[in-house]
Point group: C2
Chain length 217, copies 2
DNA sequence: TAACAGTGGAACGGATCGTTCCGGTCTGCT
DNA sequence: AGCAGACCGGAACGATCCGTTCCACTGTTA
């Protein structure tokens, strides 16, 4: 088939179109592969995407570049979800919905678990800060709604996300279901209840999980 | 110093004693190192123990051997804790105490996270089965006490342990504290409460986490 | 049809790691 | 005293893995 359509360059077919499609396919494959194993070789991404290694190196300067982009995307997704959630009028629903969507999208694995495998950009630092601010705002609204027990702090959100991300079975959809279950248990545990003992030990402190963002050895 | 004491061979000093001491030191180092990173090189264990590599290979046929032993020890610890807990008269306290001790000892990382890095022995299979039976007994007693919400199943214990093991900061003692907090939240979430919605999705099924025990690729 | 963007995949070089091996030391026994 | 050998430290080896480069090839565009 020769140049199939007259449309300037939008539709598909032709070398340009394949390249554009590959942009997507590669990112998707990279997400899947590195979510499954943060230390996966770059060849695994190429294989999964059904492309050669060159197709990867044409787009990214190296592995670190790809990881950084992936992580940054996750961060942006987190921010976007938080912003969207802030539009929800019901305080508790905003918080619970936000967390659920973040868990579903596995944003935590994308950000925290990939951190340390590359040197972050300044923009990522800014985005991370903004992510924290937005999450804090959501949290405080949730607390104001009175459904959170009083000895819970914002940083417990990190514990919660970690707990959900830790759930992992071979099937992706089943993983999502089990994470939802874990999330429900955790949210119930964080909610006000008549007769529960106070949570033990000092609560997680600000920045206590920042060590993950330092480059590993 | 020549042979220092007259006691037959019990106390210490002398090549034999050092060897006996090394047995301990090495196992301890291996536990610490592989708990921190299941894929750590064997040299890291030797370094941490302050011994040469030979001291390791004199005791274990290879890395797999060491891992297997470590994992089996964890399994035995789990069984021992469960047996001890079954002696506790209060049903709920038996369950909660058991889980807390298992979390404190990081038995989950020792067993589940190390699985798949070696071919298990038959005895390990038997012990694992026994571990499941004991845990189920404890769980059923806890349920009988009425403090567990009705839609919780034994397999939720796996989710709970995974969530606690996922909490990890550089300092070991702090890690223990945070895990206790996570555990408290989860137990609160699993407890009966007046107005909570039922847990979403099908509950974890028996053997749903067994894939971890299969040798990785 | 000439130039070239885009690609597949072999090949290279470096790093890592499990395991072996050898030379040395100290001990326990004769 | 002295010797055989248990025990040890750590260098060296070989296998494997992985990131990156490179080149030949293909269809497209001008």
């Amino acid at each position: 088939m020769p140049t199939p359509s007259g449309k300037t360059d939008a539709p598909l077919a032709g070398r340009r179109a394949q390249a554009a499609r590959n942009d997507e396919v590669i990112l998707e494959a990279a997400r899947a592969v590195f979510l499954d194993d943060p230390k996966a070789p770059i060849a695994a991404v190429a294989e999964r995407a059904g492309v050669g290694i060159s197709a990867l190196y044409r787009r990214y300067a190296g592995k670190e570049d790809l990881l950084r982009q992936l992580c940054h995307d996750g961060l942006r997704r987190y921010v976007a979800e938080a912003e969207a959630a802030l539009g929800e009028p019901d305080d508790w629903a905003a918080f619970a919905g936000f967390v659920a969507r973040v868990v579903d999208a596995d944003v935590h694995s994308l950000t925290v678990h990939l951190a340390g495998t590359f040197t972050p950009t300044e923009e990522m630092g800014r985005d991370a800060m903004r992510a924290n601010e937005l999450a804090t705002a959501l949290f405080q609204r949730a607390r104001a709604s009175g459904r959170l027990r009083p000895d819970v702090v914002v940083q417990d959100l990190g514990l919660l996300l970690e707990a959900c991300a830790a759930v992992r079975v071979p099937d992706a959809e089943r993983t999502r279901q089990l994470r939802r279950r874990q999330l429900a248990v955790l949210l119930a545990g964080l909610s006000t209840a008549p007769d529960t003992d106070p949570l033990p030990g000092p609560p997680p402190a600000a920045g206590e999980f920042d060590w993950r963002w330092q480059r590993r050895e």
